[in-house]
């Protein structure tokens, strides 16, 4: 098994190449399996969308084993085309791309006589099938997938398939990285590392001891979560490539040893490592009062609090002060500290680099804070902080021409109560018969309950909102986000009833002031008058 694990880590991680034993070893609980199992158990058709790196084939393969073990008949779907199947037969399509020509618009139509269908399909073929068979289960599955990806809960309807967005599931939120790093066989691969070093001083093996501690593994999981900062999913394949690089990558004979896992988290060769490095660099993290001690190799100082599972004997201090011409050793040491220093959260450690205020509000579902921040942003900071938390003002202007000078003002399309919005994560399952099944994705959205519209709250968007709206037309990141926001506001306004009020904001950038005026307007009375407060 150890050899097989080593080969697996060094491979392309294609699920078809696994033995059943290895499959069982590397399977970590995600919640997806039980959700798919429950849906099929209720005879619902299931569509699992996402590419192979998202784990959908692996997921389906595990389920096949389980259902067969439970006495169900599980057959390949194409075997049933010209023959009959009973309602207790589960028909699977492990990879729809391979049988695309055989698929038609009726595959997902519910029939009491035939058993449920479970199909794993890439998004590209799903789009094609939806176009080829309008009105079919494929098209409705695609519509649901799109809603899920925007954080909008898809409409529940019996007779429609249950849709799983395997690529939209956030394995990191389910502690998948921590679970994988706890696998004994992986630890054994490290112990039997083929680097040729003396195990007593091998940086790979010595550093790996820290990962025997649950708190450290959890910290790694939190660090990987940073890669989600831009709202891009972390796939299972990416996680395994990341872990493989921690286990096998780097060199022990370099100074400092680049094979140490904590170094590789930020400097490894995997895509995930690159994304983590973009989001946070440990060399910029500051340990107040402790930096000098670190430099001189004094890790026993009481200025460094370690996580509770660790003691100072668990870590290897450098042998004396770090030479001035080897700053990489200092960075190496800070990488190690990153994972073992006491802190409530990774975000707290990175507070110098990441704006935590709004991010915490999003995580904590504090919609009012987010709405207030957007209101302040859209009014160029001229509104009083906290004054606009109860409703979202839908500011816009009707300009066609590119802005070459400061705007004079803007008009509101209306206002929507904050209570009509929710902060949601993208979801990985839609139309599940069990309403309590919720599998969150990595993206955060501000969703308007009245319509099917949402605004994506990436870390970048939150930074821009927090940083304030620029009136300089050269600030392009603002332009892109504001376009997205404009569309959101228009869609929200579309769902609102008329309020009989026109609100205008005049802006004076010299004094950074905004003057709001409200007018009552009535089509029936043909009147415009100043609104009474």
């Amino acid at each position: 098994m150890i050899d097989e694990m080593r080969k697996f880590l060094a491979s392309r991680k294609v699920t078809e190449a696994f033995s059943a034993e290895l499959r069982e070893t590397i399977t970590v609980p995600t919640g997806l399996e039980s959700a798919v199992e429950a849906a099929l158990g209720k005879k619902e058709n299931v569509v699992i969308a996402g590419d192979a790196g998202s784990g959908k084939t692996h997921l389906l393969g595990n389920l096949v084993e389980k259902f067969r073990g439970d006495g169900f008949e599980v057959v390949e779907w194409e075997e049933t085309i010209n023959s009959e199947s009973t309602s207790d037969t589960i028909r699977i399509i492990e990879d729809a791309t391979e049988v695309l020509d055989l698929l038609d618009g009726d595959v997902l139509e519910t029939s009491g006589e035939a058993g449920p269908v479970a199909v794993a399909i890439n998004e590209g073929p799903l789009i094609q099938l939806a176009k080829d068979y309008p009105g079919s289960g494929w098209e409705r599955a695609l519509d649901m997938l799109r809603s899920m990806q925007r954080g909008v809960e898809p409409e529940r309807q019996s007779g429609l398939p249950v849709v799983f967005n395997a690529a939209g599931y956030d394995p990191v939120a389910g502690d998948a990285v921590a679970s994988i790093l706890a696998i004994d066989e992986i630890h054994q691969v490290v112990e039997e590392s083929q680097c040729g070093c003396d195990p007593a001083i091998c940086p790979r093996r010595q550093s790996w001891r820290l990962l025997k501690k649950k708190a450290v593994r959890k910290r790694v999981n939190e660090v990987v979560d940073l890669a989600n900062l831009h709202g891009q999913s972390v796939l299972f394949r990416e996680i395994w490539n990341f872990v493989a690089d921690l286990v096998l990558g780097g060199r022990c004979d370099e100074s400092p040893g680049t094979s140490a896992w904590f170094w590789r988290v930020f400097n490894g060769d995997s895509e995930l490592s690159r994304r983590i490095r973009e989001a946070a660099d440990p060399k910029y993290v500051v340990y107040p009062g402790a930096e000098a001690h670190l430099w001189y190799g004094d890790l026993t100082t009481d200025r460094i609090n370690l996580v509770s599972e660790l003691s100072h004997s668990d870590i290897d201090p450098p042998a004396g002060p770090i030479p001035y011409d080897e700053p990489s050793q200092y960075e190496w040491l800070k990488s190690e500290l990153f994972f073992i220093v006491e802190a409530d959260s990774m975000v707290e450690v990175l507070s110098e680099e990441v704006d935590v205020d709004l991010r915490n509000a999003v995580e904590g579902q504090r919609t009012e804070k987010v709405v207030n921040a957007i209101n302040r942003y859209m009014t160029y900071g001229t509104s009083r902080n906290g004054s606009d938390a109860h409703e979202l003002q839908l500011w816009t202007d009707l300009g066609i021409q590119k802005r070459l000078e400061r705007v004079r003002g803007q008009v509101s399309l209306g206002r929507a109560r904050t209570s009509s919005f929710k902060l949601r994560r993208s979801v990985a399952v839609g139309n599940h018969p069990d309403r309590s099944v919720e599998l969150p994705g990595p993206r955060n959205y501000l969703v308007h309950q009245g319509g099917e519209t949402s605004f994506l709250l990436t870390a970048r968007a939150l930074d821009l909102i927090k940083g304030g709206r620029s009136y300089r037309t050269s600030d392009r990141p603002h332009t892109d986000m504001e376009w997205f926001m404009t569309r959101f506001f228009i869609d929200v306004a579309d769902a609102l009833p008329g309020i009989g009020e026109l609100q205008v904001l005049n802006l004076d950038f010299d004094r950074m002031e905004g003057e709001r005026r409200r007018y009552s307007i009535s089509r029936e009375l043909n009147s415009i008058a100043p609104a009474s407060d």
């Binding site: 590419d51 376009w483 579309d494 008329g498 043909n526």
Partner: protein, 488 residues
């Protein structure tokens, strides 16, 4: 900069075949002017639009406004009692209905959110009615435009306020479309002209479907404005090129290829692709001049003059006829004769050759003026950058314009990203990337070689994809497919 012949005179010369030629004040036509002009030609002018315009200008004296046309002023005493309140109202209405600041004391174009707002303002330099004439030739119906402007039944406050203000302004008296029987987009023009016109019409038309109600209509009007203006710019740049090489082109990029920087505008001037885009811009200007020259040569040759005209005056007479046909004042033709005499351009004889026509064109439309004109116009909708400075202009795509492109080119069910690249190229001549045409880099002269060009185009394409996704105009799926789509 001053031309050797007044720009206006050269414009008259080229006008019959190329009515989208720029005028002396090329920076004046703004997108909202062109939109207003287009609607004025298609639907008519609001008969009280001048009063409405004055309402939006606080500097216009209150006495200049016929208040009987605004019943809402009588509904509330405050407007009569307080001058400051009334002025504040007017200031606020201007913020709402004149966001581009194109309403002036004696003329102007507010945002045409209601047909009663449409003015007879000619600040569009005639481009608005021309765009209407062009798209009408290719199947656009008045009702399509009517719907987007007149569907004011929405409850959004902007539409409601507009309806109240314009309650007594009816539409009548359409703005005249200039006669342009020989224009490149008519059936007397080159086949390439029909290809370009039909493509631009489909693009503009695409922004109007599906019909939108409510506040969505306001966004649709903005897209219509941008699409109309982009079509104007493309007509200025590519229209003359349709005369250059009429050999059965099927797509706009065979008429002219405009390489567009897809990254954040205006781009690093030292970036290889930005340099390619600059060359593309320069190439477009040269092609524009050549097209004007060729069209002028052919047009002058085809002009009919009386058989009694002496042989050595035929060419000059034909040139004069061309000038008059293009709207020139016959008494001012002598300036052209004078210029030709002083510049040594031979207009004696029976025929005006290409060189002579070329010199006449560049006397009014030199490269510098055309560059400034296209830069000025393109910059207004984020199609040319940078906005200012000495850096060479190039084609770019600001995000609102990108949204208009998606709106106008994509069907409502969306399209694969590669197809979007292809469509932008084939329908509008905009080169963002390779798309499905692997050989395109070899056909374009803006880089060192096909391999280099292909690499640059692929990276530019990725930049576009990133911007579309970031702006919510595309979705990238985990299997590498990207779908461009406006509505979800």
């Amino acid at each position: 900069m001053s031309a050797d012949i007044p720009v206006g005179d050269v414009r008259h010369l080229v006008n019959p075949e190329n009515p989208f030629a720029v005028g002396k004040y090329y920076s004046r036509p703004a997108p909202v002017h062109v939109l207003n002009g287009m609607l004025a030609a298609a639907l008519g002018v609001g008969d009280e639009s001048d009063n409405i315009r004055r309402m939006f200008r606080v500097k216009a004296d209150r006495g200049d406004i016929d208040e009987s046309l605004f019943p809402f002023l009588q509904r509330s005493d405050i407007w009569a009692e307080s001058r400051s309140e009334f002025d504040t109202l007017r200031r606020d209405l201007r913020v709402v209905f004149d966001p581009d600041r194109k309403v002036y004391p004696t003329r102007g174009s507010p945002f045409p959110v209601h047909p009663g707002f449409i003015t007879k303002d000619e600040s569009d330099d005639g481009f608005g009615p021309l765009v209407w004439q062009m798209i009408k030739e290719y199947g656009a119906e008045e009702t399509t435009l009517t719907d987007v402007v007149t569907n004011t039944a929405s409850e959004d406050p902007i539409s409601v306020a507009a309806e109240i203000i314009a309650s007594k302004s009816d539409v009548q008296g359409k703005r005249q479309v200039p006669k342009g029987d020989n224009a490149w987009f008519t059936d007397r023009g080159p086949q390439a002209g029909s290809v370009l016109a039909e493509s631009l019409s489909r693009f503009i038309y695409g922004t109007l479907k599906p019909k939108k109600r409510g506040p969505q209509r306001l966004l649709q009007l903005q897209h219509l404005g941008r699409a109309g203006y982009l079509s104007t710019v493309l007509s200025v740049v590519l229209g003359p090129a349709t005369w250059r090489n009429d050999e059965g082109q099927d797509s706009v990029n065979e008429i002219g290829s405009l390489v567009v920087w897809a990254g954040t505008p205006p781009g690093d001037p030292n970036h290889a692709f930005v340099k390619a885009s600059k060359r593309s811009f320069q190439d477009a200007i040269v092609s524009l001049q050549e097209g004007l020259s060729r069209a002028l040569e052919e047009a002058v040759t085809d002009q009919k003059v009386a058989s009694t005209v002496p042989d050595d005056e035929v060419a000059s007479s034909k040139l004069r006829a061309q000038y008059i046909q293009g709207g020139g004042d016959p008494d001012r033709y002598s300036r052209i004769r004078k210029y030709c005499r002083e510049a040594g351009i031979d207009i004696s004889g029976e025929r005006l050759d290409r060189e002579a026509c070329g010199r006449l064109v560049t006397a009014g439309y030199d490269g510098s003026l055309l560059t400034s004109a296209v830069r000025s116009m393109g910059n207004k909708i984020g199609f040319v950058g940078p906005s200012r400075g000495a850096a060479s202009p190039r084609f770019v795509c600001e995000t609102p314009l990108l949204a208009t492109l998606v709106r106008g080119l994509c069907p409502s069910k969306g399209m694969p990203f590669k197809e979007f690249i292809d469509k932008a190229r084939d329908q509008l001549g905009l080169i963002f990337g390779v798309g499905s045409d692997d050989r395109i880099a070899e056909r374009l002269p803006f880089w060192e070689g096909g391999g280099v060009g292909r690499d640059l185009l692929k990276k530019n394409q990725d930049r576009l994809k990133y911007r579309l996704v970031r702006s919510g105009l595309a979705t990238e799926y985990s299997d590498g497919n990207t779908e461009v789509r406006y509505d979800y």
